[in-house]
């Protein structure tokens, strides 16, 4: 039995349903809804790559791309979720802005001024 039309129909159906998921990504009320939709789309992309490989008859070539894509999708989702969670937490009590921006200007305290001065000294060649 020739299954190639069936696989093409499956790929088209998956693409259509991914477009439906894209509605949630575009119109999601919050950022995290969009992340959820992107996670589902990314998981289904692995299936789509395998199907394309089967249709082309080169599954052994496409399978490595699938593996890399699955790993990448998981890491992307975790990183975005952690970033969002970090955003939700209250700001740390000591921002320490003077350390992040040494050229902040008049608000440099004694210790920070000392630190900025002592840095180039330490890097001098002996």
């Amino acid at each position: 039995m020739n299954l190639e039309p069936f696989f093409i129909a499956m790929a088209v159906a998956i693409l259509f349903l991914m477009l439906c998921n894209l509605y949630r990504v575009v119109a999601g009320p919050t950022v995290i809804d969009r992340m959820l939709g992107m996670n589902v789309i990314g998981t289904k992309t692995t299936v789509l790559i395998v199907l394309v490989g089967i249709i082309n008859g080169r599954v052994d070539l496409f399978i490595d791309i699938t593996l890399a894509y699955a790993l990448l999708n998981f890491i992307t989702t975790i990183a975005a979720a952690r970033f969002y969670q970090r955003l939700a937490q209250p700001a740390p009590p000591e921002p320490r802005e003077s350390l992040m921006a040494p050229s902040a200007g008049p608000e440099v305290t004694e210790a920070d001024a000392h630190a900025t001065v002592s840095d180039p000294v330490r890097e001098e060649p002996p």
Binding site: M10, I32, K44, V59, I63, F74, I78, A88
Partner: protein, 132 residues
């Protein structure tokens, strides 16, 4: 022949669950319910699709196709671990951010800060007491 029918059945079942996932993601009223649809339906439908692909590849059996099937099995195993973990990370971030939720007794309500928490306890959404 039998393998072909099994492939078709597996992929059609996966497509059915993916349709259910998509409809759930579009139709459910709040973020937490959508996470339910995404976390469960996504895992099983991907597994069924890739299982159908494994059966189709193993139809003409040789060393190379066996290797490809083992790699696909690795992907299935990986998705089985990674998909619930990603779902958990997403819903944890949403819970931390107190995204708007929906309960049966109240329409959409936003839980922000401490002062609305008491009100939310009445809806039965956030847990009242710890089970001993």
């Amino acid at each position: 022949m039998i393998i072909d029918i099994l492939v078709i059945i597996a992929m059609l079942t996966g497509l059915l669950f993916f349709v259910a996932t998509t409809v759930g993601i579009i139709r459910f009223p709040d973020f937490y319910s959508r996470v339910h649809a995404a976390g469960k339906g996504d895992t099983l439908s991907t597994t069924l699709f890739l299982g159908g692909a494994i059966l189709f590849i193993l139809r003409d059996f040789s060393e190379e196709t066996l290797l490809t099937a083992i790699k696909l099995l690795l992907i299935v195993f990986y998705i089985f671990i990674a998909s619930p973990t990603a779902t958990h990370a997403i819903i944890d971030a949403g819970y931390e951010f107190r995204v708007p939720y929906w309960t049966r007794s109240s329409k959409k309500k936003c839980a922000e800060g401490e002062e609305t928490t008491e009100e939310n306890l009445d809806n039965g959404f956030y847990p009242e007491e710890l089970k001993g």
